[in-house]
Point group: C2
Chain length 411, copies 2
Amino acid sequence: MRILIIGAGGVGSAAVRIAVRRPFFDALVVADYDPARPQALVDELGDPRLVAAEIDASSSSAVAAVVREHAITHVLNAVDPRFVMPIFDGCFEAGATYLDMAMSLSAPHPDHPHEQTGVMLGDEQFAAAAQWEAAGRLALVGMGVEPGLSDVFARYAEDHLFSSIEELGVRDGANLTVEGYDFAPSFSIWTTIEECLNPPVIFERDRGWFTTARFSEPEVFEFPEGIGPVECVNVEHEEVILMPRWTKARRVTFKYGLGEEFITVLRTLHTLGLDSTAPLDVKGVSVAPRDVVAAALPDPATLGDRMQGKTCAGVYVTGTGTDGAPRAVYLYHVVDNEWSMAEYNSQAVVWQTAVNPVLALELLASGAWSGSGVLGPEAFDAQPFLDLLAADAPAGYGSPWGLEERDAGAA
Amino acid sequence: MRILIIGAGGVGSAAVRIAVRRPFFDALVVADYDPARPQALVDELGDPRLVAAEIDASSSSAVAAVVREHAITHVLNAVDPRFVMPIFDGCFEAGATYLDMAMSLSAPHPDHPHEQTGVMLGDEQFAAAAQWEAAGRLALVGMGVEPGLSDVFARYAEDHLFSSIEELGVRDGANLTVEGYDFAPSFSIWTTIEECLNPPVIFERDRGWFTTARFSEPEVFEFPEGIGPVECVNVEHEEVILMPRWTKARRVTFKYGLGEEFITVLRTLHTLGLDSTAPLDVKGVSVAPRDVVAAALPDPATLGDRMQGKTCAGVYVTGTGTDGAPRAVYLYHVVDNEWSMAEYNSQAVVWQTAVNPVLALELLASGAWSGSGVLGPEAFDAQPFLDLLAADAPAGYGSPWGLEERDAGAA
């Protein structure tokens, strides 16, 4: 296997740090628009399989050229979702397997944005599914932590824990704090704005996909391992698109544990038009407000050593257990920032995102996972993934996941 | 009298619209960095006393040159407070009387910003007071509505209503709404951020000036004429600097009726660093976040015909009445946007700011007001000002003020 990771930002760099500890691949090219970033990583890690490259991720032919130049077999897209389509298309053109952690972007319904879906997340990618399948090529989409590990949990729940699923409710929460900052998001603010301010999408089997008002259905969810209660609200997320395609769940939702302060920040940015990606004339200079917001905040990938706390990704599953009785389960994965910094010099959220696509690549390398077309993580067997994640290093990734039985009556 | 108004924005334009109805001056030059703006005003109003000019308000010598070229006797500064010092200095240099509506900017105390004052509003101007006085020249500072009319009310209270004043509490509130906008400030957001996010200043006779935390001492104040209750908080404002210099009040405060939503917006902008005036590198472009916020919002001067409601400026005065009994009075001035749009094609907040310096110019022209040095509005007799404001047109400005007796026990 010869891997190309596009993007040497927080998640891309963490994926490289994780991958170099594994023997499953022959070469790993790290490419960025700024070639100094991957070069620094290559110099630091000193793994002879690593190569740094420059790439223009906005051009499918540029992506295809790098794939061909390095005889790449598998590409991991680790740049922001604006670049999904050129990388996806470049991989098809050059014959490489494609993986990403966020899908092609949505566009709201022009007339009823908070009731009906418009262009949905991944629509552009699924439009090419038949073509990928016919060519025997694989695009494994949404293979980070959320989407990604959450989708693996959904598959696991359906195959091993439930005879029928009422709801797959992804619930994401953290108790991370950053010393020295009043406000410092632990993940890309550009992406957070995108997913939180777009109309939230919900799936119901008898209704299909539909959207709601922003921050709808607030709910205090109790997160495990000391994180505790966090206010969660509906946001737009890939799982709601992916899970209904490969599971039989009656309802799929995604609620993000933003907490009150973050919700207020996002609401205010929207009210003031500062979430906009459309360039504005500011005293003769053209600039998009959302880029200004991102530039005003610290880069989340650099905050690991000032961060404290844990982040949790998981799926709250309700329905009927394999024994025929009502069941409610929270399947989850917690990363403690102290651990990820000590072990990988990566902050928790970034590390938790990056470990999953590396693990998926390892399963594709071993043949434990295989397929063709445009597939989500829940299209594959969950067991080898979860086993390898939890197994102690060096056999596995040493990062256990958890299952909490919850009160099925309350669900 | 030959007047120069610098700035043909919202307030400058309204001042011109108000002034052209008055016979007290011989010439009025309207100057702006963009000469098309005053020219449009001159063309529209068709008053032969009006002349449009171009000016660089950031240069004292450029200001002095325009003053000399047009033989200006009185200059009204109607641009944002960043330009106070060059205009103030240019007027002194060229021998013109100077008026403004906001004073030279403050800088917080370097070590204890929320306890002690640093550079105070107007400090730079008062530093030149002896020089102005020695030359027999007048700088009438803070002569808008707040500061301005509020300071006139303070003088009136001390001279006519109270034998001793416990507190002069400026209270500003409105019930304005703007159709079609979730959030549209009715006054310059640049200035609002400046005055609300700087440490609020308070004066106490036995302690001097000191500062507090942002948005301190929240209080619901009942505004008259149907505006009703509005949450007010301490902000930095010129009255707190001016009133103690010419009245004997024991305490002076300024509370702004921001309302909860606006407070949240300002807090959030500050938390995210978006209030900053320091340029930021945004993808290779240099831009100050506060300028981006201003550019993302509609220009308040253009919102008059979508606005509804009233704005109120006033001073809540507590102390001992002239009869020796406890007294509490709210002296106020309300402008209804519907009236100011119909009468002057100016929105209420802008009109209310602009009428006061024009009226002050008229009093200086008639000799009812005269003086030298750097003086606040409370250094002059309040009676002719308030009489002329309330008198029906064409004798006066047709905009009555009010006096509400309040429960002195509650004060």
